[in-house]
């Protein structure tokens, strides 16, 4: 048994080596296609995470006019406390919001110098009792005296969802085309491998080697090409996630946690990236297996 397992592995890698140009083309196509699939899955997961985050109580920010009077600010504060739409609020006074401004624009001193403590708007950061009511809060407060504007992220999330879903469709469509290309290339590679070993195959059939014995090395070759491509693709996807993660973390450091970060939610966790990697590896093996199986069925039948 181990003897024949040895033979199968030796044959498989020998074939791969003999067919290296075709094998490389097939592997590269698998890498590109599965990377696209992986990236699409990452984005999808990110959006799903963001949506979950949002429905767990996302903030609404009321920006007051910088020159709003104390009575205006107090009035809004009382209304907010009494409102059933609002769960709780924190207030950033002139000093606190100026600090935030300095942090956010630390690399743009021109912006900072345009403000003084007293000309910086004060902000109410509020958590909604029901995140779906953000629009009502906006309608209720944005025209109150002393209120400069009401910022709520619901709109952004909806826009983002729309954009990412279009992006996902495009990515998945391209990925599908590339997956078909990988299938065809693996098919051609295996066909070439069979052709270059036709003498051996003919002798094997003649002396009574079973069909599976003849087929397995070729099928394994296709699967290994799919697997190699898939492993590289999942490493790429993992790398992509880390780059995104680092970008977001750097931005967050600047922004403190004044505004619940939408960005941080859009990055899939590394745990999720591992699951995506496993999905990619399995699909790589499946693509390789199908491509080579079809070739074997068409060109190796008794």
């Amino acid at each position: 048994m181990s003897f024949s397992a040895n033979r199968v592995l030796r044959d498989t890698f020998f074939n791969l080596w003999r067919n290296i140009q075709y094998a490389l083309a097939a592997i590269l196509t698998v890498i590109v296609s599965l990377s696209l699939v992986g990236a699409a899955l990452l984005v999808k997961q990110g959006v799903a995470n963001a949506t979950v985050e949002w429905s767990h109580g996302v903030g609404v920010s009321l920006w007051m006019n910088a020159d709003a009077s104390n009575s205006e600010v107090n009035g809004i504060s009382t209304q907010l406390k009494q409102s059933t739409l609002i769960q709780s609020c924190s207030y950033l006074d002139h000093n606190a919001s100026y600090d935030l401004l300095k942090k956010l624009y630390s690399n743009q001193p021109v912006v900072v110098s345009a403000f003084t403590i007293n000309t910086t708007p004060t902000i109410f950061n509020c958590v909604l009792s029901n995140p779906n009511n953000a629009i009502e809060v906006y309608n209720q407060y944005s025209h109150q005296p002393g209120v400069y504007t009401v910022v709520y992220p619901g709109q952004e999330i909806k826009t983002m969802e729309k954009i990412t879903s279009i992006l996902q469709i495009i990515m998945l469509g391209m990925a599908l085309l590339m997956v078909i290309a990988s299938l065809v290339l693996i098919f051609v590679t295996i066909r070439m491998a069979i052709f270059s070993r036709r003498r051996e195959v003919a002798v094997m059939k003649l002396v009574g080697a079973t069909n599976w014995f003849i087929r397995v090395p070729f099928m394994l070759e296709g699967m290994i090409e799919g697997l190699i491509g898939a492993v590289i693709a999942s490493l790429l996807v993992f790398g992509l996630r880390n780059i995104m993660g680092n970008l977001v973390r750097n931005t967050e450091k600047l922004g403190s946690s004044a505004q619940p970060s939408l960005l941080s939610a859009t990055v899939a966790t590394s745990h999720e990236a591992i699951i995506i990697g496993i999905i990619l590896i399995i699909s790589g093996a499946v693509v390789g297996g199908i491509g080579s199986f079809v070739a074997v069925r068409r060109f190796l039948d008794v």
């Binding site: 003897f3 024949s4 003919a202 002798v203 002396v207 009574g208 079973t210 008794v302």
Partner: protein, 283 residues
């Protein structure tokens, strides 16, 4: 052992039947020459026996099994009982002689130990015991064909099919090949050999099955290539070839046949011994 019953076979590309209502029976241990002009159905006969083709109608039994009823997954196991030799040898050029013969056992999953012993024995039988490490292109045509015979015989098949095994070889070399086939035949291995070689058929005097356009036209024990007492060019040619090349071997082959009759089945050892004897006789 082998029985064809009203077998018909035609190919899509041709309107004529490759085999037309052929019925014939071959017994265990027989040596049969399959003769006839090109396109008479000899190769189809062999391909049907290997179940590379299936009959249009009629039935074929080999070793008690009806080939038409055999499910396709059983075919490889069935083929392990049949050895095959071809005009063009069909050796793998990148493998040594030993590896070529061993390949036939490797692919049916024999253990390394069994392979080593059997390959050595097979190479001894065909007289290539000392050339195991050569590559096929370093050997003469006759030697290559002997490797092919070793490969066909290494698994001790019940039947050996040979499709013009001497077609590419000169008469003297062909005689060497025939000696080996004769020796294999003495181990109760049934041999069916398609051939155009008039000299060999006339010298060996074995059963001759003659086909013409897919039909059986002659089935003769101890037969010759053409019809006896005919005065065709073929017949005269036969005589000429015989006279030039084969006189010296005739007696020896006759002796060989006597020996075969005495021993129904020879063990492997005596087989090799038999070969050594043959070598000594020729030397």
């Amino acid at each position: 052992m082998i029985k064809f019953e009203n077998v018909c076979k035609s190919y899509k590309s041709s309107r004529n039947k490759a085999l037309n209502d052929l019925s014939v029976e071959i017994l265990k241990g027989e040596f049969v020459f399959l003769v006839g002009p090109s396109g008479s159905g000899k190769t189809t006969f062999l391909r049907l026996m290997l179940r590379e083709e299936r009959t249009d109608s009629g039935r074929i039994w080999v070793g008690g099994r009806e080939l038409g009823a055999m499910s396709s997954w059983k075919v490889p196991y069935y083929r392990r009982n049949i050895g095959c030799v071809f005009q063009d040898f069909r050796l793998l050029p990148n493998k040594t002689v030993r590896q070529n013969v061993a390949f036939a056992l490797e692919v049916i999953g024999r253990s390394r130990h069994v392979i080593d012993t059997k390959v050595s024995q097979a190479l001894e039988i065909v007289g290539l015991g000392n050339k195991g490490n050569r590559l096929p292109n370093e050997l003469s045509g006759g030697e290559q064909q002997r490797v092919a015979i070793a490969r066909a015989f290494v698994n001790r098949p019940l039947i050996l099919l040979a499709d013009e095994p001497t077609g590419n070889l000169d008469p003297a070399t062909s005689q060497g090949i025939m000696r080996i086939l004769d020796k294999i035949n003495r181990t109760e291995t049934t041999i069916i050999m398609a051939t155009h070689d008039v000299g060999i058929v006339n010298t060996m005097r074995r059963r001759v099955i003659q086909l013409d356009r897919g039909s059986l036209v002659r089935d003769q024990q101890r037969g010759i290539y053409g019809l006896e007492e005919s005065d065709t060019i073929e017949e005269r040619l036969t005589g000429a070839v015989k006279a030039v090349t084969l006189n010296s071997d005739e007696d020896e082959l006759l002796k060989g046949r006597k020996r075969r009759r005495q021993t129904a089945e020879l063990s492997h050892k005596s087989l090799i011994a038999g070969f050594d004897e043959d070598l000594e006789e020729t030397e």
